[in-house]
């Protein structure tokens, strides 16, 4: 395929564009409109005719959009022309592409298509989506190995000669990842159904609502634990299904162009980014992850294509860290603490809020509203532990912060990746000679709060000196 001449997307893209237009308008809005108009139409035939007219209009607009959208490579730039009423010409130098994401949903795979998203540092969203394989062109521009154009990607794809598998999760590891998620997180998938709870309750064959009615003195003792257990099992099953579908065969490869993450069972997602584009390394281990000896690594890159690696062992986590920090040791020892004044701040805020809530609820529920004040000692105890376990450190080339409560999380960034530094003082901090210093990178911020102002200004100057004297590329 010669990309130096203008090309169009696959003809099937008209279908995807039509559905995207539908999604942009809003399925709920369309259903409401159809319901409103349909209730006033004289017959079903008229209603069907309305649906056909609307559908034809959507497809006609999508077809016109498809016709007007072309892409080509011109002197190392990806040039996209699109627009119906207003012509738009988008030029993206291939050297400015920060990351390339390939996604192949079920329908894409059935039609042998791929959705490709390119991210640059200029915006936070993908510049465009085209249902054709362009990763090969970008990869060739960077001198990496080409990716197969065929939509049929074998889940057991053997790596190309220039690619090296850094880690690949086994099915057993995938299951462990699922069981290391927060127990009730799976119920989030059902959130939209809560809006239709009353309608769903009518179609349930057995009397679900009858179960919830108290019947006998011991009802509370057996119903609540049963409901919690049933909810937990159901949620963990949803967790398992979600993780298996999204993270199946999770593989991290080192390619000539950088790192590539492939994962997915029915819908395969591939995220690629050059190593220098990684700005912040975040590692964490929750309580359940500690039980399974797993770690989560998140590589924040320029653009929208962060590389998330759940379920890594400690060795895998350190390996990825060393690779991404490119010769730097990063921050190994977190030896600086923060001021305990944060305990006073959080406790005072919680006390004020609890007092307001208690006073308001007192008119409704009487003396029971005083229970709201129990939140104050909880906030105080929680903040004491958070402050006691929070550590940070700065080396000659990296900054890092470590937070812990039950689990822990860390953020590290190389100083040469810093794009700006801000030293801020809230009123509370100013009265106590404290400050918050924020190191801004192209992929997010690393903030250290509640440290002495002099210390904040010193590490700001250290970071600025490092940025301004380091000749190495930051991206």
């Amino acid at each position: 395929m010669d990309l130096r001449t203008p090309h169009r997307q696959s003809l099937w893209a008209v279908v995807f564009l039509a559905f995207r237009a539908l999604g942009a308008i809003g399925v709920v809005q369309i259903l409401l409109f159809v319901g409103f108009v349909g209730a006033r139409l004289p017959s079903v035939l008229a209603f069907a005719g309305l649906v056909v007219v609307i559908g034809s209009g959507l497809f006609a607009a999508a077809a016109l959009q498809w016709w007007r959208c072309t892409f080509e490579l011109d002197n190392g730039e990806l040039v996209i022309r699109r627009g119906i009423m207003q012509q738009q010409r988008l030029s993206i130098p291939l050297s400015r592409v920060q990351s390339v994401s390939l996604e192949q949903k079920v329908l894409h795979r059935f039609l042998s298509l791929v959705q490709i998203s390119l991210d640059t540092a200029g915006t936070e969203t993908a510049e465009f989506d085209v249902a054709r394989t362009l990763q090969q062109a970008v990869a060739n521009q960077r001198g990496s190995s080409p990716v197969a154009e065929s939509g049929e990607q074998d889940a057991e794809t053997k790596p190309k000669p220039q690619e090296q598998v850094l880690l690949r999760h086994t099915p057993r590891r995938i299951v462990r990842i699922a069981f290391s998620q927060p127990p009730f997180a799976g119920l989030v998938l059902l959130a939209p159904l809560f809006a239709l709870a009353s309608q769903l309750g009518r179609v349930v064959p057995f009397g679900l609502s009858d179960l919830a009615k108290p019947t006998g003195p011991g009802w509370f003792l057996w119903f609540v634990p049963l409901a919690l257990t049933a909810g937990l099992v159901f949620s963990m099953t949803l967790n398992l299904a979600r993780v298996v579908l999204t993270e199946w065969n999770l593989t991290l490869l080192s390619t000539a162009a950088g790192l590539r993450r492939d994962a997915g069972l029915l819908s395969t997602t591939s995220v690629a980014a050059p190593i220098p584009r990684v700005q912040i390394v975040r590692t964490r281990q929750g309580l359940l992850e500690r039980w399974w000896s797993l770690h989560r690594v998140n590589l924040a890159t320029i653009g929208n294509a962060n590389i998330a690696l759940p379920g890594c062992s400690a060795e895998q986590m350190h390996m990825v860290r060393r690779l991404v920090l490119s010769g730097s040791d990063g921050v190994e020892v977190f030896d600086q603490s923060v001021s305990k004044a944060e305990i006073l701040l959080k406790t005072r805020t919680a006390a004020v809020f609890a007092a307001l809530v208690s006073a308001t609820l007192g008119f409704v529920i009487g003396w029971w509203s005083l229970l709201a004040l129990l939140s104050v000692p909880y906030v105080a105890a929680r903040t004491m532990r958070l402050v006691r376990l929070r550590r940070w450190a700065i080396t000659s080339d990296a900054i890092g912060i470590h937070r812990a409560f039950v689990g822990w999380q860390r953020e590290e960034a190389l100083l040469r990746k810093v794009n700006g530094v801000t030293v801020g003082q809230r009123l509370f901090e100013r009265r106590r000679g404290l400050a918050t210093v924020t190191f801004s990178t192209a992929a997010g911020d690393v903030s250290i709060g509640m440290i002495p102002l002099e210390q904040a200004e010193l590490i700001r100057d250290v970071a600025l000196h490092s940025v301004e004297t380091d000749r190495r590329a930051w991206m």
Binding site: S396, V418, G420, G424, L427, S440, E457, L458, R460, H465
Partner: protein, 175 residues
């Protein structure tokens, strides 16, 4: 590429950002800000009074609602104006060989610094009222924080923009 030399540096030999070297912005910016807030307050008051009159003439018992809403907005605008009066004494900018810093804020005071080598581009924005008073806003864009330096005389804003573009280009070529 030359070998990277990375000698340790003591705190006393680091170039420090001096807190007393910040340049104040033009006092006309306060006039422009207060004028804008006054116009907004006046517009809100007019809308509130008009709505109150319309509802009252129709015999509505809730005619006080638009007055209360307008009053609340005007009160918030007045508080913002007071904060701006205090803030204008504090804001300033400092240009060094390798970076530019901007100090701002009253309740939350901030000093943001962007090295020239990280500047993506700089632009000047000037509204009609600012044009009348001869001031402009310099916006410095980087991949991290963006600086918006208000209340600069136009010629100084142009000089700073040119300086940053030149320095960003020179420093990039050195790498």
């Amino acid at each position: 590429m030359a070998d990277l030399i990375n000698e340790p540096i003591g705190a006393d030999s680091l170039p420090r950002l001096q807190d007393d070297r910040f340049e104040p912005v033009d006092s006309n910016w306060l006039r422009v800000s207060l004028l804008g807030m006054s116009l907004f307050g006046g517009a809100v008051t007019a809308c509130g009074v008009t709505a109150w009159l319309v509802i009252a003439n129709r015999g509505g018992r809730d005619s006080w609602i638009p007055l209360v809403a307008a009053g609340a907005l005007v009160a918030l605008t007045a508080i913002s104006a007071l904060i701006r009066v205090v803030e204008v004494r504090h804001i300033g900018y400092q240009v060094r060989n390798h970076d530019i810093s901007y100090r701002s804020g009253v309740l939350v005071r901030r000093v943001s610094t962007v090295p020239f080598v990280r500047v993506q581009h700089a632009q000047i924005r000037q509204g009609p009222v600012q044009r009348h008073y001869g001031i402009a806003m310099l916006e410095v864009n980087s991949a991290g924080p963006d600086l918006k330096i208000h209340g600069l005389p136009v010629d100084i804003a142009e000089q700073l923009k040119a300086l940053m573009v030149d320095r960003a280009g020179d420093l990039s070529e050195d790498r």
